[in-house]
């Protein structure tokens, strides 16, 4: 322990201290908890929480981690699934990402996530770490990531702030994805003033694995060791939570906490290779990436998905900033970290692989049979909780919702301009519009060749990658959304988004199998936004049922609004399809003279 940590030890809020000082004030409101949530924590624990416990509950019960506003609606994705739809599902909703059987013993995992707000604050790093986060989700399923996609929404193209966001975000996605060696096989670029103060940066990653390699985030087997590896833990992502610095009641000032996180794609690339070697050598029992809520999330989820408890010594965490308090360490969202559970016999093998890749690691503790998650700080207990209460039994809200009063007016507002007289000029104008024109200026900044398996990428409507070089087995993916349709009718908008992605995959020649979605909305506390959300989920779940494809995972991003004005409801839908041989793929354009053109459908 560093001298600094030592000096803080005697000021730490232990469980014993919490019991002895029931009246102690804690900054629950500053950490984003409501009074009733805070009271509930006290009821669960039978005492006031310690500072560290408060940190854990506050991040794990946040909207972002607990889905407390969206959960009641998202259940439809499970409720409306039939057995036939589940036929190809190896792992469904609830894990880091869903896993789909594509035949011949191969499986694919994919998921789309948002990194909207961080990308507005610092476009390059926000977008970069967004890619990093979704890729870690894919690794933690036991898969090798094989491609990324990036559906984007920006404000008006001529707004003074748009250039900063567009160039930063596109460069950040490229900078991170290119450095990881992941081909970018598609995405979207849409400009609309409604996203001005709130661009949407969604990132999708897809990974490939053999059935037997599936790894889950659970800690089981009493006596198994718990290890944290990858980057060191810094004060990243705990900005607003630095109120917790007071938890140490320490006179020495804590150093500043970073306002944004900086990605280290090199560290992540090494982490990917290192994890794949761990999987190949079968030396990890369970694994979890560290994303939002960092160690709080990883320990409580691993423990609560397992069959026992977990005991962790927090001073073992390798720190980038030695002034971090225990609560801050638990909340830190430093990138490029993973946590794993390893049997004692495999410890040496694990360490050898870490050393080969020069990845830092530290043994934090072990799996126990107590059913409790116990975290100590130099031997003093600072967390003693039932991990389920942190990870799974968070608050659930049935937020009120109602159809927006303005909707009738907007729907009635028909388009009634004159027919253009000069069709040629009209077509050219359309093609030159920012949302219709070629996206080469974006896609040229992304590597689409790396890994050598890209069968379709830009300018095609679906990206296609080969999975098995011997047989040509492969997958197609498309992501689509139309915020304007959803604004006019969220139920139909969601159905149309799925239909478009499904069509794009089907017309490439693949058989659509599964869906991942990222639901970007305004504040759930606004009943009109909540209605949009409810309608969207209902629409998507119904459409999935009609088309026979299950939602395997996804992400909800709420509070996308500036000054009380929400973005258009934007459900980004990703559809994954399978090819028995990618040689059969069909591109979107015409390639040869003399081909006949047919228009199908209505």
């Amino acid at each position: 322990m560093t001298a600094e940590a030592m000096s803080r030890k005697f000021n730490i809020d232990t469980v014993a201290n919490a019991e002895a000082t029931p009246g102690q004030d804690l900054p629950w409101a500053a950490l984003g908890l409501t009074e009733s949530e805070y009271r509930r924590i006290g009821e669960i624990l039978g005492r006031r929480p310690t500072g560290a416990e408060l940190a854990m509950y506050s991040v794990m019960w946040s909207e972002h981690c607990s889905y407390k506003s969206s959960k009641v609606h998202l259940r439809q994705f499970g409720d409306k699934v039939t057995d036939a739809m589940k036929e190809h599902l190896l792992v469904g909703i609830g894990e880091n990402a869903g896993v789909v059987d594509i035949g011949d013993g191969w499986a694919v995992t994919f998921k789309v996530e948002s990194h909207n707000h961080p990308s507005f604050v610092e476009p390059y790093q926000g977008a970069a770490t967004g890619v990093g986060g979704i890729v870690r989700d894919i690794i933690s399923m036991g898969a090798r990531p094989v491609a990324v996609m990036d559906p984007l929404r920006f404000g008006a193209i001529d707004h003074p702030d748009t250039a900063r966001l567009v160039h930063g975000i596109v460069a950040g996605i490229g900078g991170y994805g290119n450095s990881l060696g992941l081909p970018n096989i598609g995405g979207e670029v849409v400009f609309d003033a409604v996203y001005q103060g709130n661009p949407l940066v969604n990132a999708l990653a897809v990974g490939v694995l053999r059935h037997e390699d599936i790894r889950l985030a659970n800690a089981s087997g009493t006596g198994n060791r718990v290890v944290l590896f990858g980057a060191r833990t810094g004060g990243d992502g705990i900005g607003g939570a630095s109120v917790l610095a007071s938890e140490s009641f320490d006179s020495s000032k804590p150093s500043k906490r970073p306002a944004v996180q900086v990605g280290d794609p090199f560290a992540e690339k090494v982490l990917i290779e290192c994890c794949l070697e761990l999987f190949k050598a079968s030396v990890v029992e369970g694994i979890q990436d560290l994303g939002a809520a960092g160690i709080s999330c990883a320990t409580s989820e691993l423990a609560s998905n397992g069959d026992g408890g977990m005991h962790v010594e927090l001073t073992n965490v390798l720190l980038r900033d030695p002034s971090l308090t225990p609560g801050e360490i638990l909340m830190s969202e430093s990138q490029e970290r993973m946590m794993a559970v390893v049997t004692p016999e495999n410890v040496t093998a694990f360490e050898a692989i870490m050393d080969r890749w020069a990845v830092e690691y530290s043994w934090l503790g072990e799996v126990t049979d107590t059913g409790r998650l116990i975290i100590e700080w130099d031997g003093e207990t600072i967390v003693d909780v039932d991990p389920r209460t942190v990870a799974h039994d968070g608050p659930v809200y049935e937020r009120p919702y109602h159809r927006p009063s303005w909707l009738d007016r907007v729907q009635a507002d028909a388009f009634d301009a004159e027919q253009p007289t000069d069709l040629r000029a009209a077509v050219l104008e359309l093609m030159a519009s920012p949302n219709m024109c070629s996206k080469d200026w974006v896609t040229d900044q992304f590597d689409r060749y790396v890994q050598g398996n890209t069968a379709l990428a830009m300018p095609d409507d679906a990206g296609v990658v080969r999975v098995d070089e011997e047989t040509g087995l492969g997958v197609a993916i498309s992501t689509d959304a139309n915020g304007r349709y959803s604004y006019l009718d969220p139920y139909e908008g969601a159905r149309l988004a799925l239909a478009e992605a499904y069509r794009n995959v089907a017309t490439s020649g693949a058989e659509p199998l599964a869906v991942s979605d990222c639901l970007n909305f305004g504040s759930p506390e606004d009943p009109e936004v909540m209605w949009q959300f409810a309608e969207t989920v209902r629409g998507l779940a119904d459409a999935c049922q009609e088309l026979g494809v299950p939602v395997t995972g996804g992400n909800v991003s709420l509070y996308n609004q500036t000054g009380g004005v929400a973005v258009h409801p934007t459900p980004v839908v990703g559809v994954l399809g399978v090819f028995d041989d990618v040689a059969r793929r069909t591109p979107s354009g015409w390639r040869e003279d003399g081909q006949a053109i047919y228009l199908l459908g209505t």
Binding site: K269, D444, F446, V450, Q451, T454, A455
Partner: protein, 248 residues
């Protein structure tokens, strides 16, 4: 998709070095196999070249391209072996550096010049037309001088620079092996895309021939006429060149 296993080429062992952050290593190995040779994995931290007959230093962002592309990798233990084996005349070990590999070779002083940020400061991925200026190196024997090829280019620090004396020397000795045609994509001096050492066994180039070796997964065009969707395989000759050279 395996290459020709039985021919004499299959006996040629070509090593591909993986550094932390290498990305196109498995692609280079695939290219060797498709050309009919045997690919051997090499690890940057080893001291043993495993008796390979040639070495490819692949593309990627070794050590994140932090500091300078290739700057940290050149100190790898295996680079010492490669440097030793690659210097010493026409019988020396053939070495090909692709993109990041080229950058590593310049940092290791096996090739002159250096790469700086693209003139436009962006990462650029595109299908690039090149002219093979020298068909006598170990890696270009299957082409003819003046032949054009289309090969993917993808990098951020691809602008080749050197002082005028070095550039004149490269030109005078025929050591400019590849030149960009149809527009300079990154500001490289004299449109240089690839160069060799004096003996012609060490070649570095920025574009990625290993991504133009398999129909269906390559560029959409070829300099040799119409090809199918992603059908360009103009890069394969680089790999067959070294294999043929080595079997004599």
């Amino acid at each position: 998709m395996t290459g020709n296993d039985d021919g004499p080429l299959a006996a040629v062992r070509v090593g591909v070095v993986t550094f932390p952050g290498s990305l196109d290593d498995r692609d280079a190995m695939r290219a060797i196999r498709l050309a009919g040779g045997s690919a051997v994995e090499l690890w940057h931290g080893d001291h043993d070249l495993q008796e390979v007959d040639a070495v490819i230093i692949p593309g990627g962002f070794s050590y994140g391209d932090y500091l300078r592309a290739g700057a940290i990798s050149r100190f790898a233990p295996l680079m010492e072996q490669i440097t030793q084996a690659a210097t010493g005349g026409a019988d020396a070990l053939p070495v090909l550096g692709i993109c990041n590999g080229f950058q590593i070779l310049t940092e290791a002083h096996l090739l002159p010049g250096s790469m700086i940020k693209n003139e436009h400061l962006h990462f650029l991925c595109r299908d690039q037309r090149l002219r093979v200026e020298n068909a006598d190196t170990h890696w270009t024997g299957e082409y003819w001088a003046g032949e054009e090829v289309v090969i993917p280019l993808k990098n951020q620090d691809g602008q080749f620079v050197a002082d005028n004396r070095t550039l004149d020397e490269l030109e005078g000795e025929g050591r400019v092996v590849f030149r960009y045609v149809g527009g300079n994509p990154n500001g490289s001096r004299r449109n240089i895309a690839g160069i060799s050492n004096t003996a012609g066994n060490v070649v570095g180039l920025m574009p990625h021939p290993e991504h133009a070796v398999e129909a269906g997964f390559g560029p959409d065009s070829s300099a040799r006429g119409e090809v199918g969707l992603r059908g360009g395989t103009d890069g394969l000759g680089i790999f067959t060149s070294v294999l043929r050279k080595l079997v004599g």
